[in-house]
């Protein structure tokens, strides 16, 4: 038998403008549990998508050697045939279908006429026994909890004769008890000789199950740590994840934080819009001064976007409670219009999904949040609109032949500038930027940072939500850390380190 069941050699994968993976190497021995760790955007999921054929052969460079042979997976189906099955973070089950139907979706047990339902449910039952799931195979997915749904996914993988199981954040939506059960299940599979790769942010879990830990950072492999004894120090892993030098990737600025508080939020709580009993933001308080950049750190799903959107005219959630003061005055913002008029702006995280209208021109997008400023008596002055758009194009150095260009034709960085222009044109006092530099190249990032510095120099307040810790450390005056809807730490940027932020998050997980 070969020494490694899987070897990925010099994998490089580029997206337009971004190198997501840069010469990544990964070696997995048969029968081990191999953990993949790294910050958001380090390339973990991308690497697994390359392995599973989601990104087909040809869209990356490098070799995948599996069981001693070089593989060229073109579709998910190709890799599944070899026994490689990936279970994604967002479960891919259809709520309206039964457990059995889901398990054999696309892989139906066929009888002589159509589907053999007896066989389907019998086999489903067998696989469910293997994962210790005590449900009827005819139960609908929507009627069982997330923990059990995760087990269904694993049973589904087993039904495909899995040899190498990949789990992307399997426990992110599970509670303590379900997580532990799942991990023990993995350990028992290991005894039977199955190999698994697990991606997780929860380092205590990784220390518990993993034999080897590979650390990715910025699309490169940093190291592979041995954890045969299952007693690794979490700080050791964190050092690998974040240990990088801060060079002058951030423009310098004079820190002139005024005493005046621009916005203050007290005891803010938000409930999930559909599952009303679930608290997405739990009793959060924070403030931002004029002339200050405040950072919000946390993992994905920490509730930062939900917090921002609920403040921005109740755009998210139900049962919102708490106090909001802008420039010392109590405000109750019932809708987005109120928020804009109160001097708030929220630059959305997902610029294509809910920030810009891609098929409309730069000019139309720029004026959208405050169209009345270029209108007289409800009639749009197109000439004035174009002049405004030209003005911002010059100011933000947006690269485009004309402001009539459809936004969809611009690069990510330039789209982000148009989105910023849109909200700068709304002339806010407090700007909330949600992941303002996601998916754009280093040069454009630098320019976005410069724009932020200009804004605070004018005495405005900026809140920056980011998953990239170096960016927060480089840009902010103060950093708040959120986890699972709660505010878990606040520190001046001068005292903050990535280790401190990470351990604040991890410690709150343990509680």
């Amino acid at each position: 038998m070969a020494e490694y069941i899987l070897e990925m050699k010099n994998i490089t994968k580029e997206f337009p403008g971004v190198k997501a993976l840069d010469n990544v190497n990964l070696q997995v021995r048969p029968g081990e549990i191999h953990a993949l760790v790294g910050e958001n955007g380090a390339g973990k999921s991308t690497l697994m998508n390359v392995l599973s054929g989601t990104y087909p052969f040809g869209s990356y460079t490098g070799d995948i050697v599996y069981n001693g042979e070089v593989c060229q997976f073109k579709t998910l189906h190709d890799s599944e045939e070899k026994g490689i099955v990936i279970i994604h973070q967002e479960l891919a089950l259809i709520p309206e279908l039964s457990i059995g139907e889901n398990m054999f979706l696309g892989n139906e047990r066929k009888g002589r006429f159509g589907i053999d339902w007896d066989k389907t449910y019998y086999e489903a039952g067998e696989h469910m026994k293997q994962v210790g799931l005590k449900e009827e195979a005819t139960t609908l997915i929507k009627d069982i909890g997330t923990g059990k749904q995760q087990l269904v996914e694993i049973a589904k993988a087993l039904s495909k004769n899995v040899k190498l199981l990949i789990l992307d954040e399997p426990t992110s939506s599970l509670n303590e008890e379900d997580s532990r059960m799942l991990l023990d299940l993995l350990l028992s599979f290991k005894k039977d000789g199955m190999t698994s790769i697990i991606i997780s942010h929860k380092l205590n879990e990784i220390a518990y199950v993993a034999d080897k830990i590979t650390v990715l950072r910025d699309g490169s492999t940093i190291e592979t740590i041995d954890n045969e004894g299952h007693n690794i120090d979490e700080a050791r892993i964190i050092r690998g994840m974040v240990g990088r030098e801060l060079s002058d990737r951030y423009p310098s600025r004079e820190h002139n934080v005024s005493d005046k508080v621009g916005m203050e939020v007290k005891n803010w709580s938000v409930h999930h819009p559909i599952y009303n009993e679930k608290k997405v933001v739990d009793n959060v308080s924070f403030n931002v001064h004029r002339g200050e950049i405040v950072g919000f750190s946390g993992l994905q799903g920490a509730g930062r976007t939900e917090l921002a959107m609920s403040i921005f005219g109740r755009s998210y959630g139900t049962n919102i409670s708490g106090e909001l003061r802008i420039d010392g005055k109590d405000k109750s913002l019932r809708n987005v219009r109120d928020a804009i008029e109160a001097g708030l702006a929220y630059v959305t995280e997902d610029r294509k999904g809910n920030g810009l209208i891609l098929e409309q021109s730069i000019a139309q997008n720029t004026t959208m949040a405050r169209l009345e400023k270029v209108c007289s008596k409800g009639i749009v002055d197109i000439n004035k609109e174009n002049a405004v758009a030209e003005d911002y194009k010059e100011k933000l150095r947006t690269k485009t032949p004309s402001v009539q260009q459809a936004v969809g034709n611009l690069s990510g960085g330039n789209q982000q500038k148009v989105l910023l222009a849109k909200w700068m044109f709304a002339d806010p006092e407090v700007l909330i930027l949600d992941e303002p530099t996601r998916g754009i190249d280093v040069g454009a990032k630098y320019e976005i940072y410069c724009i932020m510095n200009d804004l605070v120099a004018q005495g405005k307040s900026v809140i920056m939500i980011s998953s990239e810790m170096p960016e927060l450390l480089g840009m902010c005056d103060r950093i708040y850390v959120m986890n699972e809807g709660r505010m878990v730490a606040e520190m001046p940027a001068s005292e903050a380190t990535q280790e401190k932020i990470m351990s604040a998050i991890l410690q709150s997980d343990k509680k």
Partner: protein
């Protein structure tokens, strides 16, 4: 502008010209008879009016209103009953009918905009509901609007279906008033273009090239003059044309110039982004469907006046003509793009095909086949050409 972008921008106009020339030749010029040209407009008046309203719905995201044909019937039935049974003054009838149509629209707009009932289903229900009410009001009969001189019915018909005649100017042979109106419109277009250019030049804004702008004006002017010259040799300007022109101009103005109109494009382009820009997206849906039914009501009056009677099948499948015109005229099936000008071209294209085939005496059934083919080709073209330019879709 090179040939390629020109063809892309004016595809449907070119198609209209080709189709028009084809039918003119095929009918040995009969399509060009003054009477036929005049009827082309009158017979398609309802499509033009409905298509303007339908465009607003489609802009919000490819949503359509299936109930307009039934609304036409219901409002027409109400009007006919008021005129015949109750002998009401036509002006009051018109006002009441339009208010009633507006209420129908608010009913649908409320469910669609504020309760989020899918438009397809809500208006499908409306299609049954209003057709049923309409037939009930008509008591399954055909109600003719009385045409005797001096009756309320006659006055009602005059408001919609008569021809303008200016004593002293118009003769029995030639209605000069029509041609004079044509000259006024043509001159106004030139003046507006020149003034606009002067204003832009003063403020130093970017100009479109003078050649293309004036070429466009000259082509439109020529068509206006030719058309009015022709109808001057028939009965002159139909009043219906004035109604249609008013609706088209108002909607063209709203969609291209006002902030309010801009919101419809924004909602169709990206609803979430629009909401997060502080625009009340629910209200946009509400108003789209309210305006649609208002225009359906107006169409009901126009149709009642043109035909002179209303029955249970009045307005049948009108919604399909309106929807077809919008998509042929380049409105995106996913919402967010489309112009009133395009829709007018689409409606006329359909109208020319109809008219040409009727003149030629072709079977009604074949008209459906041709209409279907044209619609499919237009939308395929739209989707494929958008894919190539990398737009969303």
């Amino acid at each position: 502008m090179n040939t390629k972008t020109f063809i892309k921008k004016y595809t449907m106009v070119i198609a209209l010209v080709v189709v028009f020339i084809f039918f003119s030749m095929w009918t040995e010029g009969r399509l060009l008879y003054p009477q036929n040209l005049s009827n082309l407009l009158i017979q398609n008046a309802y499509v033009l009016v409905l298509a303007c309203g339908m465009l607003m719905c489609i802009l919000t995201g490819g949503n359509i209103d299936l109930s307009v044909g039934s609304t036409v019937c219901l409002v027409g039935a109400v009007a006919a009953q008021m005129l015949t049974k109750h002998n009401m003054d036509p002006l009051i009838v018109i006002c009441l009918c339009l208010v009633f149509a507006c209420l129908i629209g608010m009913w649908q707009g409320f469910w669609i905009g504020y309760i989020h009932i899918p438009p397809f289903i809500c208006t499908l229900a409306g299609m049954f509901l209003f057709r049923g009410f309409g037939r009930a009001i008509l008591d399954s009969k055909t109600i003719a609007i009385p045409q005797t001189e001096g009756s309320v019915g006659k006055r009602f018909l005059d408001i919609f279906a008569s021809y303008i005649e200016v004593p002293g100017v118009d003769t029995d042979k030639v209605k000069w008033s029509a041609f004079i109106l044509g000259i006024i419109i043509a001159a106004a277009l030139v003046v507006i273009t020149v003034l606009n250019r002067i204003k832009k030049a003063k403020k130093g804004y970017k100009q479109a090239s003078a050649l293309s702008q004036f070429a466009k004006v000259i082509v439109i002017d020529f068509l206006v003059l030719a058309y009015t010259w022709k109808i001057a040799h028939y009965k002159g300007i139909p009043v219906m044309a004035i109604w249609v022109l008013a609706v088209v101009l108002i909607y063209a103005f709203i969609t291209s110039k006002t902030a309010f109109g801009r919101y419809f494009y924004a909602v169709g382009g990206n609803e979430k982004a629009t909401k997060l820009s502080g625009i009340d997206t629910k209200k946009v849906y509400f108003l789209a469907y309210t305006s649609m039914s208002l225009l359906a009501g107006l169409s009901g009056l126009l149709v009642a006046a043109r035909v002179g009677s209303v029955n249970g099948d009045t307005g049948n499948s009108f919604e399909m003509d309106a929807i077809g015109s919008c998509f042929i005229g380049g409105a995106s099936a996913y919402g967010g793009s489309g112009t009133v000008g395009g829709v007018v071209v689409g409606a006329i294209l359909l109208g020319v095909i109809n008219q040409g085939m009727s003149i030629k005496g072709l079977d009604n059934n074949w008209q459906y086949v041709v209409k279907g083919a044209v619609l499919l080709i237009a939308v395929i073209f739209d989707v494929v050409s958008n894919k190539k330019t990398g737009k969303a879709g």
